[in-house]
Subunit: 309 residues, 2 copies
DNA sequence: CGCGCGCCATAGGCCTGCGCTATGGGCGCC
DNA sequence: GGCGCCCATAGCGCAGGCCTATGGCGCGCG
């Protein structure tokens, strides 16, 4: 899917260092490789891109105008890679951690990394470990004392645990722009229409699916959710989004998961009336007050950029 | 700078395909590699991350909760890589193009890619070539008929060319959060203070530098810009941002170039009063009306998400 | 109840490609 | 005019990638 001539992450990182340090040799040293290796990687980069990126003088190396544009785009790629690397670090359990958190999926993916970034700005040495499971297991981890703080997105709060609301999450129904329903995006769908849609939902047990089905049952004044004969059950949020983008049905996902595709225009949100698709996000802990670091995290989560609903 | 265990772009792309297709074999086929190769890459990915990402059943492969988070972050990395690859394509000159554009640096880096994305959504087969140079050379290219449309950010409009304003660009002064001046971010700097600052500016000839110096001369009621004894001249915008972030002075760059760092808190913008640091962006062309495709581009640029000023 | 199919992992061999050290050429500076 | 800095080229060794072939496992179907 990515073109075969796409440069390597290491090469892009090297290019950024060249742009910042003004010299191939310095950049090579910064990356712990020999100068000829760096030189070769950069010439290969230019060959593969088919662009002249660098101006090599005898006093150093600077960028061509084209090179500045390439560097600007490469910076975005490397920044995203840093977010990934940073997120992976918090998910590893082989470090000396001072704050242990268990979080449900949506929070861990889209909200928690930014909160931890803010937290670490005030306390750079802070090490945090994160366990990712469903909301029920998060409560179990908190009760067992294996984590200091839990972050859940389910509507019901577990007993015997203190809780504080830290934001909200909204489910959206999304289709590809070419999907028949996309045209009537302005006339809202009714809850009764759901049974006729080719819905794409998570498998049983997922918090996203439970929220959607219970909201549907409430709206239709029933105890049990209605049958959805045309619904498909898919194994992951990514699969749902990919299928919806390919025109395979109506995806039911968190607004955060679809935000990038909606902004890019590759997915369209359907408006729905009469369905309570917004649910609270809560922090939970044992005892009356959360541990100090947990309280800091709650403050960051509630105070700063809350989730867009 | 990036951790050595950071996965490869190709591996991340493969992981996304596994998440979407639900099978290692399918993903391998989609990427044109053999199934064992894909399997090996994925097991190596899990080893390097130190995380269990995939659940391999005899009926396919799905994601663990941790895997979903990793996939969400990987999607951002791959999306940024696609922006880079797409931008590189428009800068190559070896294709049959229907619209030739010359653009100055800031526009080509931060604005034009999004406009072209919108344009291609309506006309998927559209091929565009872009030449990146300074504003003066853009006008030369337009006059010589080597491009259909020029996009410039300099204040003065060239003679004998038609022009239309398509937005604005703002220069900002940025420092690292720990820099002494960052504390007094609320009391604006005066134009007369500039001579005392350790400014980081582009080399002579850059549009950014020219705009800044002429605005400074105007504010001080002089014909020539004042001497800046403590200013350093750096070769590229990336160098300026990196130096400012390291506390090496006051960077003078386009607001777009600093936006990511300001949002992340790694750079702080200084407020300045009495300096006209906002300049218009203009589209220029020969004749009275721009060519059809050029007019479409202008419409996209002015109509949709304009530059944040 | 056993056979078969789909899916994934392992094994082994080949080869590309990457990294290193050593060296040469170009340009500015003292 | 020589020296130092910076980048490119050359040549070599090794690791790691990809491939084909094969094995094991679980589920479904006859």
């Amino acid at each position: 899917m990515l073109p075969s001539w796409t440069p390597d992450l290491a090469t892009l990182d090297l290019l950024l260092s060249v742009a910042e340090l003004g010299s191939v040799g310095k950049a090579a040293e910064a990356h712990g490789i020999a100068q000829p290796s760096a030189s070769a990687k950069l010439t290969q980069l230019e060959r593969r891109l088919g662009l002249s990126v660098l101006v090599r003088t005898s006093r150093g190396t600077t960028l061509t105008p084209v090179g500045e544009a390439v560097v600007a785009w490469a910076r975005e790629v490397i920044a995203a890679a840093h977010v990934l690397a940073d997120g992976v670090l918090t998910l590893r359990h082989d470090r000396a951690v001072r704050l242990r958190v268990a979080a449900s999926l949506t929070i861990a993916e889209y909200l928690l990394p930014e909160w931890l970034l803010v937290l670490r700005r005030h306390d750079p040495g802070l090490e945090v470990s994160v366990i990712v499971t469903n909301s029920h297991d998060v409560a179990t981890e908190v009760r067992a004392g294996r984590v200091d703080l839990g972050l859940i997105e389910s509507p019901g709060l577990p007993d015997e645990l203190s809780a504080q609301r830290i934001g909200s999450d909204r489910l959206v129904l999304v289709v590809s722009p070419g999907y028949p329903l996309a045209a009537r995006a302005n006339s809202p769908l009714r809850p009764a229409d759901m049974a006729d849609l080719a819905l794409l939902v998570r498998e049983p047990g997922s918090g996203t699916r439970d929220t959607f089905l219970s909201a549907l049952a409430t709206a239709l004044h029933r105890l049990d959710p209605p049958a959805l004969p045309h619904a498909s059950e898919l194994g992951s949020t990514t699969t749902i989004i990919a299928t919806a983008r390919a025109g395979g049905g109506v995806g039911v996902v968190s607004a955060h998961a679809a935000a990038a595709d909606i902004a890019a225009g590759t997915l369209v949100e359907l408006s729905v009336s009469g369905l309570a698709l917004t649910r609270d996000l809560n922090a939970i802990w044992t005892g009356s007050k959360p541990p100090t670091l947990g309280a800091d995290l709650i403050r960051v989560a509630t105070g700063s950029n809350g989730p867009r609903t």
